[in-house]
Assembly symmetry: C2
DNA sequence: CGAAAATTTGACATGACTCAACTGGAGTGG
DNA sequence: CCACTCCAGTTGAGTCATGTCAAATTTTCG
């Protein structure tokens, strides 16, 4: 890269701002939180978790783009979710059980994350109990939207799902390759290409 | 019915037992919880929530069987989930936002529930903060399994999904009509019938 | 500039859907 | 106890959405 990118400061403000959308934090709360999370940068293509490993971190995306995907026994990849700025990502099942991960979590761009390890999160829940509330609320929301996705997939043809995706996540659509979007929508890259050619 | 069923006592023990799988409750905690939940019986076919209404309760199933489903603009029903003994059910999106429900929640049998209203739950979180932790944990688990369902639906043909469902939820399979299982699996009742005739 | 990756295109295959007819219980009422 | 209806489930013919495979084209990026 010709023009070196100036590193943004490794501060936790984006995380605090996000949490404070749901619960209020005292100065001490913020200090405690800061000592339990770690700021970390990943290069494009780097994995945060790989299938079969234990998912060590729950990660808040400060900058960048991440995909979570599953490689089936035939070697086909299935994208479970994307995450961009202000989203959380992890293989949550692996993280909470500290067992082998079902998914790969990979950075699609140079990505900066604020991460916490499982034991540290448990300590933090003890020190700042309102974070139980915070995580309950955001996981409830995630659950609701995941449930809606199931229904949408069943009751909606692929073309409409694609149109809806573009409308709902325009930033994601522009940052990730189409074959990953196809995978997220549950269709082949060839079929998505045909859908796109049909109109617009 | 010839032999009248003796009503089971309306006690909260099943709820306490369930909660204590995740957090420990003091005698006072249990008393506080009991004053905020209500025990209620529904007849077969009765609705707990209907699409467009506000979902008033989060419900713990003591006895019975419930389905959550969505009726689309063409009038087709899509089953989102079932709930039997020891499961929770609600239109969670509607409950947490106190906005109009996307789903119908209907009892498929005579069903006994332990229910809480949204304002009472908020009060209860305040009085028994460890319930924040409890609900966080069970919603995390629900989220993880919902996410797995998305992937399973995409990467698995209908026949295998059906076999997996039978293995995973044998009690449910025997209690609900097949057309609802078909809907849950995202296929038509006719196609499920053909799958079933193909083998076994 | 050249190679690898992503996307497009076309021919053909198939899983799953639609619609309509038929079967077989489970009430219900005469 | 029979006749009737209703609902769930089955079966078959024809169709459509989407998949597979293989080749051509375009884009990306070292």
């Amino acid at each position: 890269m010709k023009h070196p990118v100036h590193d943004r400061p490794m501060n936790f403000d984006p995380l605090f701002a996000y949490i404070e959308k749901y619960v209020t934090l005292s100065k001490e709360d913020r200090a405690t939180i800061a000592t339990h999370f770690k700021y970390r940068k990943y290069v494009k293509g780097q994995f945060i978790v790989e299938q079969g490993d234990i998912c060590l971190y729950e990660s808040f995306v400060v900058k960048g783009c991440v995909r979570t995907y599953y490689t089936d026994t035939d070697g086909n990849e299935h994208v479970v979710m994307f995450a961009i700025e202000d989203w959380w990502t992890a293989d949550l099942g692996s993280f909470i059980s500290q067992g082998p991960a079902d998914y790969n979590v990979q950075c699609l761009e140079r990505t900066e994350l604020i991460q916490i390890e499982f034991p540290d999160l448990e300590k933090l829940y003890h020190l700042v109990p309102k974070l139980e509330r915070f995580f309950r609320i955001i996981i409830q929301k995630a659950f609701v939207s995941t449930q809606k996705r199931i229904i949408g997939n069943f009751s909606t043809p692929a073309k409409e799902r694609y149109v809806k995706f573009r409308k709902q996540y325009p930033q994601i659509e522009q940052r990730v390759p189409q074959y990953m979007i196809a995978s997220y929508l549950g269709i082949t890259k060839e079929f998505l290409s045909k859908i796109r050619s049909q109109h617009t």
